[in-house]
Amino acid sequence: MTDTARKAGRRRAALKNALWVLVFLAPSAVPLLVFKLAPMFASAWVSLHKWNMISPMEWVGLGNYADLLTSGNTWEVFSHTLLYILGYLPLVYAGGLLIAVALNQKLKARGFLRAAYFVPVVTSWVAVALVWQWLLNPSNGLVNHLLGLVGLPQPGWWTDPTWAIPSVILASAWKDLGFVMVILLAGLQAIPQEIQEAATVDGAGRWRRFWSVTFPLLSPSTFFVVVISLINGFQVFDQVYVMTGGGPSGASQVAVGRIYDLAFRYGEAGTASALSWILFAVILAVTAVQMRGQKKWVNYA
């Protein structure tokens, strides 16, 4: 066989190989292309236009972005979103960690409890939000009834602008507790027993062992929880839509809720697309900062 023929054969084999790779990728690549990437690029195109979805599009360049960045409303919805994250993240992380540590002990009915805490995670948001709306009903809800029994003030929850976001935070933290618990539980179980024993031999008490051994070794799981929760937090929508509808008087309107309103209620598809891209940029920036920052505190030992 000549050298060129061998070369051609190798090239054919490489091509064949690449095509087979494509065939096996197709089942996920085609839907990704058709239902994710294509709409994404379409929305980038739409964001450069003024479009009410029924009339022809009108080119405005970066006008939609300029309008959004100079509008007080944009800063308002982002500050509500941030407020939500600031309340939600510590609550769900501390709660999830507490339950994970508790359910990592040898307890009776441990399997049942682990499953029970996970049930809300797989429950529909609409059902959960309606139940919490009922629990937090200002006049006849269970929470205010109990607060009244012990003589504490009974807030107006979702009917009061100052309590609307805390209401949503409570419901969200409750629902996602199980998810955080499962991740942290897996992290806890991956910590080698010998290290704990070595620390015990060195005379470390329970508390010291937790803060100096367990917690640092849990940092990869913590990092994962924080990244995922922040991304989901910026995209918070379902619970707000069902519980408060963004109200009262826009006091709990979040970024995605505003995108929904702009597109489907106000017929401003261009502005809505532009706001989606701004949200994307914010999430990307926040995640990039975390990826850089993690080198300082995440311990993969």
């Binding site: 065939v23 979805m53 029924i54 009339s55 006049s139 006849n140 107006g156 489907f264």
Partner: protein, 426 residues
């Protein structure tokens, strides 16, 4: 070589076919018969019809009209899509954007203009409009061209529970009543311990523009480019709507503004007076056959003014079955079957030119005083139509909610409404 390629080709074809299927789905009309209006004899065309007004109680009535039409036109099949009112605007808009709208679709008066202006509706000028009340047929013209046909009209009256009035020893409401009479009665009728409320009127945009008119004011100026409600009439309207909450009317926390809350309250005999539409007649009669109730023209403040709503039906400019769609449009809005069904089932009223055709409707009881429906038409407050309708409504609703929750004064709320709505009108 060929052997190794063929599964590849198969896969590629399958992927292409899948993509084609997706594209095919987004094309909309289910019609594949090729024939335009069924003239080709044995082919049947399908006309898709999307609506909201049959939702929640009148689905079977729409079905009656569809069956009658299909009997007369065996070559046309009507495929009905019914969407709840709350989701309708978004659904229609998205469908039009994606080119997947039904061949024929329902529109409220307030949104007709934007669809007509956008070229989404087929021009049906020349269609016979003699069967419709002239003013209603004209309402669906744009630049002298007909873009839709009136389908129905309805209005809002005051429902009241006679037994609760009797028990409190009060006279029934009359046409001569004003807000002051209503308020006195509402206070006397409210008994929170028994869960009985005197009054229910939504604290919303629709009630606001009407109560402004009932106080002798105007919502927009004559040119329609600025608001005109920030005056004494507007102040009266805000105070009237928000002042009831928690006193004679249940609050949001009690459940107000949740679906069917007011209907259930009235039909269970726990609500004395209720401001709602005549489309509720059939529901109340059916849900509470033993309830002793009647209706009256809504009380005014300084003058009478009743809300009047009208819906229309238009044909998509992109529909491939224009002729069949026109046949359905005409039948659905003016046939005797439609008129009979609407009247017998107390659905929204047919927009007939000849009002004697409504006699059959007026004869049905309850309510005994159906004449109030026609009397209300003597003084009508028409809904302001602006391009940024939903944003305007949201502003008004939010400000009204702030006043009723005690977070803002009526004066501040009015000033805020004006400041936020005026820029939307430019």
């Amino acid at each position: 070589m060929k052997k190794t390629w063929s599964p590849m080709a198969t896969c590629a074809l399958a992927a292409l076919a899948a993509a084609g299927l997706v594209a095919g789905c987004s094309q909309g009309s289910a019609t594949n018969s090729g024939g335009d209006n069924g003239q080709s004899g044995d082919t049947q065309v399908t006309v898709r019809y999307m609506n909201f007004s049959s939702n929640d109680g009148h689905e079977a009535d729409l079905e009656t009209i569809v069956s009658a039409f299909e009997d007369q036109n065996p070559d046309i099949k009507i495929s009905v899509e019914t969407v709840p009112y709350a989701d309708y605007a978004a659904k229609l808009q998205t469908a039009v954007a994606g080119g997947a709208e039904a061949d024929v679709f329902e529109l409220e008066y307030a949104s007709f203009i934007s669809y007509a202006k956008a070229g989404a509706l087929a021009d049906i000028t020349g269609i016979d409009t003699s069967a419709y009340a002239e003013s209603l047929a004209k309402a669906y013209q744009q630049d002298g061209q007909q873009y839709a046909l009136p389908e129905s009209f309805s209005n809002v009256v005051l429902f009241y529970n006679k037994d609760l009035f009797d028990a409190a020893n009060l006279d029934y409401p009359t046409d001569a009543w004003t807000w002051a009479d209503e308020q006195r009665a509402a206070e006397a009728l409210t008994n929170k311990d028994d869960g009985v409320w005197g009054d229910y009127q939504p604290i919303s945009y629709n009630e606001f523009y009407k109560t402004v008119a009932q106080s002798g004011g105007e919502f927009l100026n004559a040119a329609g480019d600025a608001t005109a409600f920030n005056d004494q009439a507007g102040l009266d309207a805000v105070n009237w709507l928000t002042g009831k909450s928690g006193k004679t009317m249940p609050t949001d926390a009690d459940g107000a503004n949740t679906p069917d809350f007011d209907t259930n309250l009235f039909t269970s005999g726990k609500l004395a007076m209720w401001h709602t539409g005549i489309w509720m007649f059939a529901t109340v009669a059916e849900k509470a056959p033993d309830l002793n109730w009647d209706v009256v023209v809504e009380p005014g403040n300084t003058t009478k003014a009743s809300a009047m709503f009208s819906n229309a039906v238009g044909i998509s400019a992109k529909s491939k079955v224009q002729d069949a769609a026109k046949k359905w449009l005409t039948f659905y809005t003016s046939s005797q079957t439609t008129i009979d069904t609407r009247l017998a089932k107390s659905w929204e009223l047919p927009p007939v030119a000849d009002t004697s055709k409504l006699d059959a409707y007026l004869a049905i009881t309850p309510p005994a005083n159906r004449q109030a429906v026609l009397d209300s038409l003597d003084a009508v407050a028409l809904a302001p139509v602006v391009e940024k309708q939903q944003e305007m409504q949201d502003v008004i609703n939010d400000e009204l909610a702030a006043v009723s929750a005690g977070r803002a004064s009526a004066e501040d709320a009015l000033a805020n409404m004006q400041a936020k709505v005026d820029p939307l009108l430019k």
